[in-house]
Amino acid sequence: MLNPLLRAEWLREGRSNRLAVTIIFYNAILALIIILFMVFNTESFQEGYYFDPAVYRFQYFIISAIQMGLILLFMPFSVWGLFIRDNDEEMIRRYRVIPGFSRKYVMSKIGLIMSIALLLYVSSLPVLSLACIYSGVTWTEILRLGLMLMFFSFWSGSIAVYAFIRRQSGIRGFSLDVFINLFFFMGTLLLSEFIHSVAALSQGAEAVADSADICMLLVSMNPLVCLTGYLANITGDNSVINAFCSHIGYDNSGEMFTFTFFKLAGLAGILIGLLFLYQAVAYLDRDARRRDALVKAETL
C-alpha cells in the first residue's frame, strides 16, 4: 500500500510551480556547461583534429559532479520548503499518537526528496546524452550516475529531514543541516588529519600505521570518497585517493582496495542516512514529553 502521506506530498509538489522551475534551472545549468565545453573544444570538431577521449570523459565527470554538487548544495533549501511549518507541525501534533504515523511521515519526506532527484536525473538525460555522443560514455556509466545521484540525495536528504524535524524553526533546522553536512564533508577530513598528525608527532611509525586505519574509517564516512570512486571509475584516475592514502601512510596497493573501499564508503553513507531517518522517527515518536509530564506531576 502506498504511503498516504507520500501520495499527498507528490500531489502537493506536483501542483506547485516550484518543481517545474527547479527542473528548468537544473537543466539550464547543465546545458550551459555542455555548451561551454563545446565552445572550448571547437577545434576538436574540425577535420583532421586528434580526438582525445580522456579529455571528454573528464568533462563528463565534471558534468556529473556538478549534478551531484547541485543536489548537495540545494538540498537544505529545497527540504526547508517541504516543511510548511504550520501545516506540518499541526499535523504531526494531531496524528503522532497514531502508531506508525511518525514513520510514514518521515518516509514521505525522504520519498519525495528522492523522487525529485530521480525526476531531475531523468529530465537531464537528453542533456547528458550530448556528453555521451562525443565522450564515448556507455549506458552503464549513465546509469551509475543515476545511482550516485540517488545516493547523494538519500544521504543529504536524510540529514536534512532529521535536522528540520529536530528543530522547531526553519532557520534552526537549516543551520543544523548545514552543520551536519560540514561535519561529514570537512570534519572527517580534519579529524583524520588531526589523528594522523598526533600519531606522527608523538608515537612513531607503528602508531602512524594504526592511525591510518582509523583515518580511512573516518574518511569512508565522507561522501566525497564516493565521488572520488566515481571519478576513478569514469576516468581511470585514482590520483585523489592515492594522494590521500600516501599522505596518511595507508597502503592501498592491494587489488581488493579499489573494489572494497568505495563500496564500503557507499554502504557507510546509506547506513548514516538510515540512522538519521531512524533518529527523526524516534524524535517524533518519543514519549519523553509524556514521561517528563508524569515526572513533573509527582513533584507538583
Partner: protein, 301 residues
C-alpha cells in the same frame, strides 16, 4: 466517559489549567464557556492528545488518550479553529489522506468520504483545491476531517468561527444531527444564539479552573440568581442596613447615595422574607430590582 484527572498546564510562568478534574458523560453536548479562552482551548487540545499536560491524565472510556497501544485515537475527532489544510489537495484527496492515516482505505474509504461530502453539503466544492474554498465552507471541511473516521467523541474548537448566520444555523443543525447519531460533543464556543437548545451541559472556566458547571438551565438560573440587588431607599437607611447586616444570606453591601446594592444568596422565598423584614422595619422603599446582567459577559466570552 471522558475524564480529566488533575490536569495541570503551565506555560510562561502561568497556570493555564490548575488541577482540573471533570467528567463528561456519554451522550452529552458540553459547552466550554467563560473568559478563560486559553484554558478552554487547552482542554480540547489535551483531550485530543495534541498537547501534553504538565501533570494529570485524560481517560477516554478508562484508557489514557496518550497511550498509543490503547487505540483511543479512533474514538475522538478534533476540529481546530484555524482550519489547517493541505491547500494543494482537493477535498476527496484530503479526506482520503486523513482516512488512510487511520488505516481505512479502498472501497470503504470512498463510501465514507462520499457520505461525509453529502452530509456536509460539499458536493459542489469537490473539484476545487482546498485553498480555493470559500472561507465560510472551511469550518465544514474541518468538521468533515474530524468525523471522517466515525469517532464517538467530537472535540470542537470554535466551530462557528468564520460563519455567517445561515452557516451557523447549518453547523448547529449538523452538530445536533451528529449528536442524534450517537456522538458526544465537547465544544469551545462563544456564540449565544446557536447554543440555545443545543447544549446539555456547560462548564464555565475562570483562571484555569471550573467556576460553574452543570446542566445549562441550572447554570443560567444560578448566574441569574447571583445578580446584585439594588434598592432605592427613601427613608430610614439605617433600618435597612440593620436588616441586611443581620441576614446571613446577604453579602457585599454597598451604599451609593440613596441606593443600597448587595448580593443575596438565598432563594425566592428567602428573598421575599428579607424584603418583608426591611419594610416591617419602617424602611420606605421606592424600588427593589435585580441589576441587569449581560449573560454573554458571564458565559460566552
Amino acid at each position: 466517559m471522558l475524564e480529566f484527572q488533575n490536569l495541570t498546564v503551565q506555560k510562561d510562568n502561568r497556570r493555564i489549567l490548575d488541577q482540573l478534574n471533570m467528567e463528561v458523560v456519554d451522550g452529552s453536548i458540553v459547552g466550554l464557556l467563560g473568559p478563560d479562552s486559553d484554558a478552554k482551548r487547552m482542554v480540547l487540545r489535551i483531550a485530543a492528545a495534541i498537547e501534553y499536560p504538565d501533570g494529570g491524565d485524560v481517560l477516554l472510556e478508562g484508557k489514557s488518550v496518550f497511550d498509543k497501544k490503547a487505540g483511543t485515537f479512533m474514538k475522538y475527532g478534533y476540529m481546530s479553529n484555524d482550519h489547517v489544510f493541505f491547500h494543494q489537495l482537493k477535498l476527496f484527496e484530503y479526506y482520503e489522506m486523513c482516512l488512510s492515516i487511520y488505516k481505512i482505505r479502498g472501497r470503504m474509504a470512498r463510501i465514507r468520504i462520499e457520505d461525509i461530502i453529502e452530509q456536509l453539503e460539499l458536493e459542489k466544492y469537490t473539484d476545487l483545491y482546498l485553498e480555493e474554498l470559500p472561507l465560510e465552507m472551511r469550518p465544514f471541511v474541518s468538521l468533515g476531517q474530524a468525523i471522517i473516521h466515525e469517532p464517538s467523541w467530537l472535540l470542537l474548537d470554535h466551530p462557528f468561527n468564520d460563519l455567517d448566520g445561515l452557516g451557523r444555523e447549518k453547523m448547529r443543525n449538523l452538530l445536533a444531527q451528529l449528536h442524534d447519531q450517537g456522538m458526544s460533543i465537547l465544544l469551545n464556543c462563544s456564540m449565544v444564539p446557536e447554543m440555545t437548545g443545543l447544549l446539555t451541559d456547560v462548564l464555565v472556566f475562570e483562571e484555569g479552573k471550573i467556576a460553574i458547571s452543570g446542566p445549562i438551565e441550572e447554570v443560567v438560573e444560578q448566574i441569574m440568581h447571583e445578580r446584585p440587588v439594588r434598592m432605592h431607599v427613601l427613608s430610614n437607611m439605617d433600618g435597612a442596613l440593620d436588616v441586611l447586616k443581620t441576614n446571613d444570606l446577604v453579602e457585599r453591601v454597598i451604599v451609593d447615595g440613596s441606593h443600597v446594592i448587595f448580593r443575596f444568596r438565598g432563594d425566592d422565598i428567602e428573598e421575599a422574607r428579607l424584603l418583608s423584614s426591611i419594610v416591617k422595619n419602617g424602611v420606605l422603599l421606592q424600588n427593589y430590582t435585580r441589576d441587569r446582567i449581560n449573560l454573554d459577559d458571564i458565559l460566552w466570552r
